[in-house]
């Protein structure tokens, strides 16, 4: 943890330091002793620390205090005693989760849902960006962008509402032609269909928005390459294959690796809203399971639920750090 901390820290500082070094001279000459210099600089900058105080206090209360609360995974939480006062329980809850008959089904559901989403939703924005990038009619391009970005800003409740209403087996408009053709409606929230509904409604909501980053990368491709290739008689498909795709390869590799760092983070709110007793066997993921243990069982088992959350947080952290390390190695870039 510490070594990573330093690495992240350094890369962050060096980037922004470079960009600023030409116009901000160091406040003190290099000859002075570091410790005295630092103390003096801190005293001189006290007003900046005052400005930082509200966001720091916010982070401590609402981000770091809950992080400290993760130790509840090793304690038996007692409401009257609080986080600190509750008695230690060791690995009771962690091992309870490992030995739970739901352990493997929940892990499997989480991974299947996310791997499916990654495989389906990662390539499509690239295709969309390539198509939009080769458009010559700028107004048409603008219109396509404006419309396809829009669903990203619609709330999860509204998205799920649209699914429930339009895809309803009894009254949904989508099920009218389906009934007419196949003779029976399709229940899009059944156990068999849940994953497809989850992933493809996600496609509807995020494809346009996800293409932005690839469009930005494509804007950096030198137009002269295209001109030269055109003069040489290269078709548009060949130019896309030999010029555009190599141009966005670094971004693509980086994003793919970083997305793999998110394999345990399914869209908790959307899964929760789409969940029903019929699809629970495939829709129970780590987040919803932890939520259910804490808030929907007869006796709230906060410690057990925290243990499940901690398990997820630790694996996620490892995945993110691994992904970032890989991105650095393979694509020579990382986001932090």
């Amino acid at each position: 943890m510490t070594s990573t901390a330093v690495k992240i820290d350094e890369s962050d500082g060096s980037n922004s330091g470079r960009s600023n070094s030409d116009h901000l001279k160091p406040a003190f000459k290099p000859g002075q002793r570091p410790s005295r210099r630092l103390g003096l600089r801190m005293r001189r900058s006290w007003q900046l620390y005052v400005l930082l105080l509200p966001p720091l206090i916010f982070s401590i209360i609402f981000l770091y205090w809950p992080m400290y609360g993760l130790i509840l995974a090793f304690k038996s939480y007692n409401i009257t005693l609080g986080i600190t006062g509750s008695p230690w329980a060791g690995f009771t809850y962690i091992s309870q989760f490992f030995h739970s008959y739901l352990f493997w089904p929940v892990i499997k559901n989480t991974l299947v849902l996310n791997v499916y989403a990654l495989l389906a939703l990662f390539p499509l924005p690239i295709v969309l960006a390539l198509l939009m990038n080769s458009l010559r009619n700028q107004r048409f391009k603008k219109a396509v962008q404006l419309i396809t970005y829009a669903p990203y800003f619609i709330s999860t409740v509204v998205l799920v509402g649209i699914i429930l209403m339009l895809f309803s087996p009894t009254t949904g408009v989508i099920n009218q032609p389906i009934s007419a053709i196949f003779g029976h409606p399709v229940d899009f929230l059944s156990a068999g269909a849940f994953r497809h509904t989850y992933v493809w409604s996600g496609a509807w909501q995020t494809l346009g928005y996800s293409s932005i980053i690839f469009l930005a990368a494509l804007a950096g491709v030198d137009p002269e390459l295209h001109e030269a290739a055109r003069v040489d008689g290269a078709s548009i498909l060949r130019r896309i294959w030999h010029i555009d795709l190599p141009g966005i390869l670094p971004v693509t590799v980086t994003l793919l690796i970083l997305n793999m760092g998110q394999l345990l983070n399914s869209g908790f709110e959307k899964v929760l809203l789409l969940q029903n007793p019929n699809n629970l066997a495939v829709s129970q993921v780590l987040d919803t399971y932890s939520y259910q243990i804490a808030f929907q069982s007869q006796i709230p088992q906060y410690s057990y639920a925290t243990a499940i959350g901690l398990f997820k947080s630790v694996i996620s952290l490892v995945l993110i750090l691994l992904a970032n390390w890989l991105a650095r190695r393979v694509a020579k870039q990382s986001l932090f």
């Binding site: 900058s45 400005l51 396509v144 970005y149 829009a150 619609i154 709330s155 009218q176 509807w204």
Partner: protein, 296 residues
């Protein structure tokens, strides 16, 4: 000199335009359908006669919303949370973004990293819930706004804005003139950061307007429910629950079950429109947001 498209290139463009038009229509259709259905007559919906445009146009679903105290409270609550969350989130973000953009700030890297850690290690729902409870915030408006009030991604965008737009010479010149850090921030940096303030207000506003989970988890009072949560409750009912809607007349109207589906459509429209109207204003900042968002 223009080179003429070959036959193959023309075929490509035909396919390209077709794919994009079909995709755009697929994105648009559910939105148009929901709006049309909310304006159609209840009978047309029940008979499945609505496909694209409103059939037998009427406003009675919206009249029902306006007459229903509980739905109006949801609307008012969402407005409060949106404005409050936007102001608070923007204030925290601008303060953190500005101070951490100053590379003469001692321990700047440590502080930046302090803001970044929570994006790597998520505490999860249960510990956050326990903190909110130990703070005594359960069943208050603060519980809806405060957790998640500041997004680290916005802090990074804002920090980058200050690094690129407030040159060091400006700070040095102000210092020579005797301005301290407070004066420089409030008199010079803040007036120059209107664009990034607008972006933050819109981002946080949209997030709060779209939010339902905080209210769902931390409050149980109907009088604190935002619109999205009211909509969620409405969607989860298959039959009319007059208590949910409130108001004697409204209950009478809603006894006609067929109006119920229409009401759901109208509520979806009301919950959906504000972000759709607001987002084009932040569009040009998408690239930065998308870059940083992919880290999440």
């Amino acid at each position: 000199m223009r080179i003429r498209d070959t036959r193959g290139d023309r075929a490509y463009y035909v396919v390209n335009y077709s794919v994009l038009i079909v995709f755009t229509l697929m994105v648009l259709y559910p939105i148009i359908y929901v709006i049309s259905a909310s304006f159609s007559s209840a009978k047309a919906i029940a008979d499945n006669n609505v496909y694209l445009w409103p059939v037998g146009p009427t406003l009675d679903a919206y009249k029902t919303i306006v007459q229903s105290p509980n739905l109006l409270i949801g609307f008012a609550n969402s407005a409060v949370y949106t404005v409050g969350g936007a102001l608070l989130g923007t204030a925290l973000t601008v303060l953190a973004g500005y101070a951490s953009s100053r590379d003469d700030l001692p321990f700047r890297r440590v502080i930046t990293f302090f803001f970044l850690i929570p994006t790597l290690v998520s505490a999860g729902i249960v510990p956050t819930y326990i903190v909110v409870r130990e703070l005594g915030l359960l069943n208050t408006r603060w519980a809806v706004i405060l957790p998640g009030a500041m997004s680290v991604f916005n802090v990074i965008i804002t920090r980058t804005f200050y690094q690129m737009n407030i040159p060091g010479e400006m700070l040095e010149a102000a210092k020579v003139d005797g301005a301290d850090d407070f004066r420089f921030f409030f008199r010079i940096a803040l007036p120059l950061s209107k664009p990034i303030i607008a972006v933050n207000l819109l981002f946080y506003g949209i997030t709060q307007w779209n939010g339902w989970f905080n209210a769902f988890l931390y409050t149980s009072d109907q009088s604190l429910m935002p619109l999205q949560l009211v909509l969620r409750e409405l969607l989860s009912q298959s039959a009319v629950n007059p208590a949910m809607i409130g108001g004697a007349d409204v209950a009478e109207i809603l006894k006609r079950q067929e109006l119920f589906d229409k009401l759901k459509y109208a509520m979806i429209v009301v919950a959906m429109i504000p972000p759709l109207v607001a987002y084009p204003f932040v569009q040009k900042h998408f690239v930065k947001g998308a870059l940083i968002g992919s880290l999440k």
